[in-house]
Symmetry: C2
Subunit: 284 residues, 2 copies
Amino acid sequence: MGAPRGPLALICGGGSIPLVVAEAVRRSGRRVVLFPLRGWADPNAVEAFPHHWVHLGQLGRFFACARQEGCRDVVLIGTLLRPSIIDLRLDWTALRLLPRVLAMFRGGDDRLIGSAARILEERGFRLLGAHEVAPEILVPSGPLATKRPSVRDQGDIDKALAVIQALGPHDVGQAVVVADGYVVAVEAAEGTDAMLARVAELRRIGRLKTPAGVGVLVKAPKPGQDRRFDLPSIGPRTMEGVAAAGLAGVAVMAGASIMADPGAVAALADENSLFLIGVAGAGA
Amino acid sequence: MGAPRGPLALICGGGSIPLVVAEAVRRSGRRVVLFPLRGWADPNAVEAFPHHWVHLGQLGRFFACARQEGCRDVVLIGTLLRPSIIDLRLDWTALRLLPRVLAMFRGGDDRLIGSAARILEERGFRLLGAHEVAPEILVPSGPLATKRPSVRDQGDIDKALAVIQALGPHDVGQAVVVADGYVVAVEAAEGTDAMLARVAELRRIGRLKTPAGVGVLVKAPKPGQDRRFDLPSIGPRTMEGVAAAGLAGVAVMAGASIMADPGAVAALADENSLFLIGVAGAGA
């Protein structure tokens, strides 16, 4: 990779992960300039860094500000549930690229990311993954809390990884819940928190009959996913959702997933007797 | 198939499909004896037929009643979300088969069905599919309402069929929602109605940005699924859910899906300007 030079432009979607990355990069001694996306990024959270608000469609404004700040490297991170074209607020630069921008909004996320990378690269920028600028935010391999997965949990983890593997070509599903060999929930547009709330509700109304303490949440990138964008992430809220859903624990793909606030995550795992483990992929 | 002989034993889970099947079999001139499952079948709906209530674990009682009624052919139909072992109310016959019954409750539905079929066959019964005793309840091929799917809808249908195909080996997912090339929701334990309610909610809170009238619900059996049990089904409630979710229409696999109350379903499709079509599988 070589030592990255100059300040880093961090385009911030929603959630807490963009700030986790920004802080890690700043700790490494590199200047960070945030480009929070209006409607997605958290206004309070970005105050601690130099920043320029942009609409998702303001490509011209982004290119100009990033050049002015001396940024060549760009990281794009955070949730960015596909917006409507009207919310984009396309500027003139974006309008000139309109056919490509429209094409980006058809099909899955991988296509979106590939197109974004090409548009940036044609203009002299370089799209990097968060793990390239802040490797310590990646989930390491092995147990990360006191409890260990049981043999049954391990079977559920393997099954969930196989489901994520099978869905990969269709650009869907970074998270799956499996309980005692039974696929309980597959995440698509709703996000992990909503999927976990659904599992808790299925248990409450008696549609999920496996006892509390059985079942796993597994998060892993889609096989073949461009890892420069939208790596699966977990944080304290994930652990709260897993506890509320009555599962046994969480497995995330080591080296390819991001953890926000690892200390709080591990503490929540221990408080709720959940396992938390970084695992290798299913032949990925 | 040959002409089936003697009365038919219909073991009824939840939902409206068991009664649709019972009525179709009765119309064909064959006597039907219902075995509604306590906790699943609708008490009011079974009154119109001779019936014997059973708990899921009362295998001995079922075998005795079915023999007394002169039934050799058995159809098992309706929703049967996996119950807890305590809800089964195992009788002595079931207890003698306990290791096999317990094994049935690990792993996916296909295993459950295969085991149930073997246990019945060893006792001289024959497990049939609903489509074998009432072929007219199967969804036919081609358009079933006035509106036709657009080219975009057809692309979404193909993508959804491919996702169902990919999930087949993992015994999950008979229903998927795809909107403009994007997989919005994958059904697992929650059922189709709950999945459609989630899509409506994603639209309401602005997480699904495709305009109303874009997106399809596709239902198809898992490839390799034992079609004697739990074929995908649609009914009036499905169409109401699809309308509330703002989708363009519904595609179901022709010859391998069941429709309850076809007249009402088609009328609801037309009222809401939805397409409704029986399609061939994705290479299945």
